[in-house]
Amino acid sequence: MRVALFITCLNDIFMPRAGLGMVHILERLGIDVTFPDGHTCCGQPQWNSGYQAEAEALGRHFLDVFEGADYVVSPSGSCTAMVRHTYPEMFRDDPGRLAQARALAPRVYEFTEFLTEVLGTEDLGASLKGRAAYHASCHMTRMLGVTEPPLKLLRQVRGLDLVPLAHPELCCGFGGTFAVKSPELSVAMGDDKLEDVVSSGAKILVGADPSCLLHLQGRAQRRGLPLRVMHVAELLAEGAGLL
């Protein structure tokens, strides 16, 4: 089975370890992993800020780069949602690109979704001691509808005490360009999310969306909170001795 990696620009620059973790896990499971050279960005920041033409340009590039891939797997729920959910809408008036987007969409998966739904794997033989809270990103939950897969995987990690958050449905405040357009508001929302994490007793905050994680990690660090922020691929790979 061949998988094309959709690493995402944020992961590429700030969190390549998560991408590496993903690669190691997939290869361990016997997957042939490729990384298309032309890979850049899905255009989500442009789309969410109203720059439609610019988003479409990046979208067209994306569709061309991943044309013909059997599976496209991404360590970002929101970027996966952009391709699967938004591209068909974005290319509504372009029949050629619309067909291309519709053909690609069912083959694009978020990483944990791919593991549990396509590969049918939940137990990676991982162990990591600690109390962890999982942050479900808005786009992954509401747009992609993927809620259980990360939890299924995390529950199999030996020694990991997974605790729920008080307000799991509340946005962490990243919101893409919202984070810099309304920074104080964004940080206030981040603080509420971190408060939930801290009061849950978790020392590890794990998520499947690098955007949220960067925001929460950045704030936690500024506030000196004793919290380790990890991408789920990172946590699983580390726990399985692959990183």
Partner: protein
């Protein structure tokens, strides 16, 4: 609502870490409005506490009531689960709004047939003139009023006061903020930002007494004061939650009973109704009533649902002699035929406010208009002028999607926010400073080698910055961004957050190395 388990407001520990400093107001420039109000709200701990408690409670009650629809649907008591019901609700509204002139004409005919008088008002000035005229020709000096967002839109109270008619709000929350001279901060619970001490002060001043702060006493005082007004008033003013076109029935939904008293005791009843409030028939009304209460407060139905069809009948010893229904356009017709038409499906339940993480931080006043929360962010630029209000959809939304999920009319609120943002870009109104970077990135990143080069460059810049003690850098202490910082998105990010150390190698580079090693190893 089911008995709220609400106790005295407990203090939360102040944030120990440095909270980000607000950008200088001068820098905000023409975007001062939402931003400035939002910053003021963020600094008001009591307000935020009150808002949070209210919306968490209302949101939880709503979730519970909506979940129960599944079982009720199985029993055949409701038409379906939430998804099915809001699907139908959307269809009803699409039908109504799509034939709005027809249904308006039908409603007018039905109301007149029952002895009511129908007026059509283009906007605030017309509503004011019509109501003033009715009041003055009937010698009305005191009017009582039920909660109506439409009358807030047109500033009716002020228009009447200037004509010598005293107007008293009768919804408890509206009465409180009327005494305070403020605007409502939530569609359903207008006074959630007020503490009981403030309320006791306001009621005390109004009655010339010093009052304790317990709820029964305060409510009792309000009840007695307002009771007198109901009985003395020459006119009752209401809005309408719905108007049924087929029968000309005006439907008022309250929990307090002020809707019924306002429209039963005085001899003139004036209802100010946005033209979009129509539904075709009584069956359609039933569906919306089941959705409204559940979405709004988590109740199956509100305490009072009042169906008014014409003024009092012949021989009835109470009820208004005259019923006046004023259909208000107020900018709604300009939304017809645009990509925003679906916003006219709103039934003013407030569910989107209760679920919005931004509203939860700020309360309603930060939005600066009659409508707040997600519906406010979409509607205010449409009714109140796009240029002046474009900052709302631009800055007051993180696109989390919660609002779209809970809207009982299935209005695609997040999509409409995006539509506003696209319009802003088309009209050159994006002053966030992000336009250039986003455009450059799009142009550059369709060329993979440019993307890779820019990633390496950006990373190098950040590393240098961190090494030189740049705020947020590893060498710098954790303080809020100082006055000297690079403009734009980077400064905004660093105003409260660190940037993670950019990786020494991008994934692209790591991958290349891996492939290299793999080849070398063969």
């Amino acid at each position: 609502m089911t008995t709220p388990k609400r106790g005295p407001q407990t203090a939360t520990a102040p944030r120990t870490a440095a909270t980000p400093r607000p950008e200088a107001a001068s820098k905000a420039g023409s975007r001062a409005s939402f931003r400035r109000r939002a910053l003021a709200a963020l600094g008001d701990a009591q307000l935020r506490r009150a808002v949070r408690i209210s919306v968490d409670e209302a949101g939880a009650a709503r979730n519970q009531a909506v979940a129960q629809l599944v079982a009720l649907a199985r029993e055949g008591l409701v038409r379906g689960d939430f998804a099915a019901m809001r699907h139908r609700a959307r269809d009803i509204k699409a039908e109504t709004i799509g034939h709005l002139d027809l249904y308006l004409a039908q409603a007018a005919g039905a109301i007149r047939q029952r002895g009511g008088t129908v007026h059509f008002a283009a906007g605030a000035a017309e509503v004011g003139a019509i109501v003033r005229d009715i009041a003055l020709t009937r010698g009305v000096t005191l009017a009582v009023k039920g909660k109506s967002m439409a009358t807030e839109e047109v500033g009716l109270n002020a228009a009447l006061e200037s004509a010598g008619v005293q107007v008293v709000e009768t919804d408890l929350g509206e009465y409180i903020i009327q005494l305070a001279g403020e605007k409502p901060s939530h569609i359903v619970a207008p006074a959630i930002h007020k503490s009981r001490e403030e309320i006791a002060n306001l009621l005390g001043r109004a009655t010339g007494r010093s009052l304790p702060t317990d709820t029964p006493t305060l409510a009792g005082v309000a009840r007695r004061v307002l009771r007198e007004k109901f009985l003395q008033a020459g006119m009752g003013i209401s809005g309408a939650n719905f108007v049924v076109a087929e029968t000309g029935t005006v439907c008022l939904v309250t929990n307090e009973g002020n809707g019924r008293l306002t429209t039963s005791a005085p001899s003139v009843h004036v209802a100010v109704v946005g033209i979009e409030k129509l539904v075709p028939s009584l069956e359609d009304l039933a569906l919306f009533l089941s959705l409204l209460a559940r979405s709004s407060t988590g109740q199956k139905i509100s305490v009072y649902t009042h169906l008014i069809t014409g003024p009092r009948g012949p021989g009835e010893a109470d009820g208004p002699d005259e019923l006046h229904v004023i259909f208000l356009d107020g900018g709604r017709s300009s939304i017809l035929g645009t990509e925003f038409q679906d916003v006219l499906h709103c039934i003013r339940c407030g569910a989107c406010l209760d679920q919005c993480p931004v509203y939860r931080q700020l309360g309603g006043h930060a939005y600066g208009g009659v409508y707040s929360g997600p519906i406010g962010a979409v509607l205010t630029p449409l009714l109140g002028g796009f240029a002046e209000n474009a900052d709302l959809p631009a800055e007051a939304c993180s696109l989390c999607g919660a609002c779209g999920e809970v809207c009982p009319s299935a209005i695609p609120l997040p999509d409409l926010i995006l539509a506003h943002r696209r319009r802003m870009v088309r009209e050159g109104r994006d002053h966030s400073g992000l336009g250039l970077p986003l455009r450059l990135a799009a142009a550059a990143w369709t060329r993979p080698w440019v993307y890779r080069a820019s990633a390496r460059l950006g990373r190098a810049v950040l590393r240098i910055a961190r090494g030189t003690g740049f705020p947020g850098g590893a060498a710098a202490p954790a303080t809020p961004a100082g006055p000297v910082s690079p403009a734009g998105p980077l400064a905004a990010w660093l105003n409260g957050r660190d940037l993670p150390p950019p990786a020494s190698k991008t994934f692209h580079e790591l991958w290349r190395e891996r492939q290299q090693q793999g080849r070398d190893g063969q």
